[in-house]
Amino acid sequence: MSAIRVENLCCTYGANTPFEQHAVKNVSFEIERGDFIGLIGHTGSGKSTLVQMLNGLIKPTSGKIYVEDNDIWSEPKNIRNIRFKVGLVFQYPEYQLFEETVEKDIAFGPSNMGLSVEEIENKVKNAAKFVGLSDTLLKKSPFDLSGGEKRRCAIAGVIAMDPDILILDEPTAGLDPVGRDVLLSQIAQYQKAKNNTVILVSHSMEDVARVTDKVMVMNKGQLKMFDKTDKVFSRCDELNEIGLRVPQITKVTDALKNKGFDIPEGILTVDKAVHVISELLKKEGKL
């Protein structure tokens, strides 16, 4: 059973006005359970629109979305249940915080699900642990947190609903390098621990290369590629054509390979590259 299946999805903003915009054009794909997917594309390529359709916030102009083989718009009244199943963390989610304390804010989602007090408490604790928010922070006002802490608080607010599918829209945008790395590892850990489906929208190729299994590439509203991460990043020329680039380290190792060194294709992280190159040097007796 697939986690999400999408058929011929289209979304048009401002239909029949001078501002008409086809944000998503005829997109079809299928995501298996437990996959960690990266969604990359230029600004304005329709990533945010696509993920908002996946959890029923935007109704598609045409096409179908199946979550666990159920058409999500077959009963528009139950769309709220889909949003609990497909958790979406918006871009810059820190601007949605509103409660008195961090704890209460994280509890907003679970309480909307109508859970009991103990269950809510449990979920809040777990979610806070996943994103690394300490107990003292939980009692603070969300408006007193630092930018990175606010971000993690908002992400915890969605994780606390325990969605089967977690979608994060550019979760690392605007964070400092250390904050990015920490948050990314936390998301990866969450995915491993729960073995949930996670979709990570990003335009940082390094981030996507580091953690995801598969990558979708969007361009001008269309789905251009959907494949294993190393396969996608070995198609360097095609990516360049649509204005995306491969991770820098992949560029370096590909260049080495072209020079005739015995290096496999599609190396995505610095660690892996260091490993491969030092092996190579050892073999040649230079290390």
Partner: protein
């Protein structure tokens, strides 16, 4: 949310677009007064014909005008219905206590035509003039009031900023609403109290962000040495062109025409 179009600026090229906003503003006021000075059908027809030609000349799709009319259609219907039944004189048709007289019908037609002209002509102004041009024109026209220590520049600046913030805040509301819906907030069902409560998670972030934006804007303006209107020069200097004089002349002709109609022909309204 973003669909709310209170006569938003519609950028194209037309004679009306290229007119000086000050002239447009003055002519609009003249026209509004004129619509209410029509006392017989000839005068009314003249005004309506003129409104229609302005609508067509503006090159804004007629559909947009219908959209702005849609909002007031109820008001038009109610006021003309009231006028219809409160006529005086010989009843043409009677049913119980409901009487319809010739003067009632006349009243209804005039009220409907006047309100519709009013909306169309004001929409024509907002469709063809960008908000900044409009406040600019207002500032210029109110300049004489500085004699009475009215802070004309400050008022105009506040209006410009407010107008600029309306679409921004609407967009922000959309985003926050979507984000809270993603956390299962229910904004569509429940009784009045529940619905008002459901707005709290939207309003608090909205206020926070509005204050943040206001603060950032203030800092940005200060960084560029903004200190109010004194000694400020203008980037865009408004000048009157031939078309402005021609349009003013035409409107004066129409005013004369309406006055002549009123004087020479018998009045339909008393």
């Amino acid at each position: 949310m973003r669909d709310i179009a209170f006569g938003q600026y519609y950028p194209t090229k037309s004679i009306i677009h290229s007119m000086d906003p000050r002239v447009k503003l003055i002519l609009l006021v003249a026209f509004l007064v004129l619509t209410f000075c029509t006392l017989n059908y000839a005068a009314l027809a003249l005004v309506v014909a003129c409104v229609a030609s302005i609508v067509l000349l503006s090159k804004v799709p007629v559909k947009m005008y219908f959209k702005s009319l849609k909002m007031i259609v109820v008001i038009v219907l109610i006021t003309s219905a009231l006028n219809l039944f409160y006529g005086t004189g010989e009843p043409l048709w009677e049913w119980g206590f409901i009487k319809i007289t010739l003067s009632g019908i006349n009243n209804a037609v005039f009220v409907a035509a006047r309100i519709i002209s009013l909306i169309l002509i004001s929409s024509a102004l907002t469709f063809t003039t960008s908000p900044t041009d409009l406040t600019d024109a207002l500032e210029r026209l109110m300049k004489p009031l500085t004699v009475f220590h009215v802070k004309v520049h400050e008022i105009a600046m506040m209006m410009t900023i407010a107008l600029r913030f309306v679409p921004l805040l609407l967009e922000e509301t959309d985003k926050i609403m979507a984000a809270q819906k993603a956390r299962g907030a229910d904004m569509e069902s429940g009784n009045l109290v529940q619905r008002i409560k459901a707005l709290v998670p939207v309003l608090i972030p909205l206020f926070v962000s509005a204050f943040r934006r206001a603060y950032e804007l203030a800092v940005a303006m200060e960084c560029r040495c903004y200190q109010g209107g004194q000694g400020r020069t203008r980037m865009k200097i408004l000048t009157l062109h031939k078309s402005d004089y021609i349009c003013t002349f035409i409107v004066i002709l129409i005013i004369v025409g309406v006055v002549l109609c009123n004087v020479l022909l018998p009045h339909t309204l008393r």
